[in-house]
Symmetry: C2
Subunit: 210 residues, 2 copies
Amino acid sequence: MIMSLEHLILGFISMRPATGYEIKSEFEQQVGALAWGSLSYGNLYPKLKEMEQKGWLSSKEEEGGRNKKVYELTAEGWKELDVWLGNTPDYPVVKDELMLKLMVWGISRPHDHDSLIQHLRSREVKTRELFKIGKNFQDHFTWMDEYGVLALELGMVKLEAELEWIQSAIKKLEDSSLTPGVDKWNITPTQQQRRMSALESTEMEEKSNE
Amino acid sequence: MIMSLEHLILGFISMRPATGYEIKSEFEQQVGALAWGSLSYGNLYPKLKEMEQKGWLSSKEEEGGRNKKVYELTAEGWKELDVWLGNTPDYPVVKDELMLKLMVWGISRPHDHDSLIQHLRSREVKTRELFKIGKNFQDHFTWMDEYGVLALELGMVKLEAELEWIQSAIKKLEDSSLTPGVDKWNITPTQQQRRMSALESTEMEEKSNE
DNA sequence: AGTGCCATGTAAGACGTTACATGATTTG
DNA sequence: CAAATCATGTAACGTCTTACATGGCACT
């Protein structure tokens, strides 16, 4: 019970009874965008069924042509939600490909500032979009209590910090005024040599194949 | 090729040839802490084997009792790394349980500020720890180039923003001076009622079971 | 001699995504 | 009436974690 697609579902439904489809679409646009990521039906629907069998959820088929299952929390569901809320939250997991790329950028593409600036600009677009949604949260959320506002504020200060960083990073790349790194044992030349000798060997082959 | 345990490995080894054990332990303490998360041997070792078969890595068994396999990039590996660096990075995925809990805290535990403050303090401890490591990066990293410094800076401004937010959030909770939320259709009473009626029904049962 | 770290690996199972299949309703 | 959206679901596949098994080396 470390992970919590289940708890995420309990939390969502605690706001209001909902169908699987609603959970996915609304969650992704709202909370998920800042604090989770995407859900997939192939994961969600079987999980809802499982939770119903476990007794955390009950469902009501709403007829009227479109077959639609509205889930609601049972007493067990509310209790489980409360227990989860009481447990110390896991430290967040961040998977940031841009940071990984930056870490090794200079080995493979030193001085290729143009591609890097492009990466930063594409990051900026999405971050700015999320920031805007957050700013106008009153238009996007019909309900959010004072604790939710707290969560939103955390998201916002991080996005803001990122936007400022992007600006300064692009400027540094354009001006070639990057903060120098450390290289205690002067390994950079060795890295370059490892790379060159590995690549040269196949260049030879390619030439001889002509 | 959406995900990138493979590319993470290529990136790590581009810094220096390494064993599976070294990749896991060093990566987690350094880059992984800010930008990825943890690796597991059950995932890592088979993947290294697979990448060797694919021709991206070569390995050298270093004898001397302790059996140890040092991996190095092949020409194909360097090329693949370069291609990956050129692709626009995916937008980061954040999984933040604390934010999820905040979003629904008030429904199940309104006015329980003490538990929430505890959650925030436990978050603060780890964040402050990461912040300290970052600040003294010259002690923890023997090598980091100017692009790596850029990545580290992004990590740091986010951690800093989070620390400030934690302070202000704790203060607001202690003073009960939280920013009010929105409730366009006044659904809060309905939420409370749904919860109460679900819980009451089992309380009855429990009493009748006595 | 024992503890902790270095080091590799496998097997089972949990978790998650993708692609497919199906069909109703709403909107332009 | 076509396209987008609402709505549920399954099967295959891929990924990742957990738990286990094994053993050497270093330090106290």
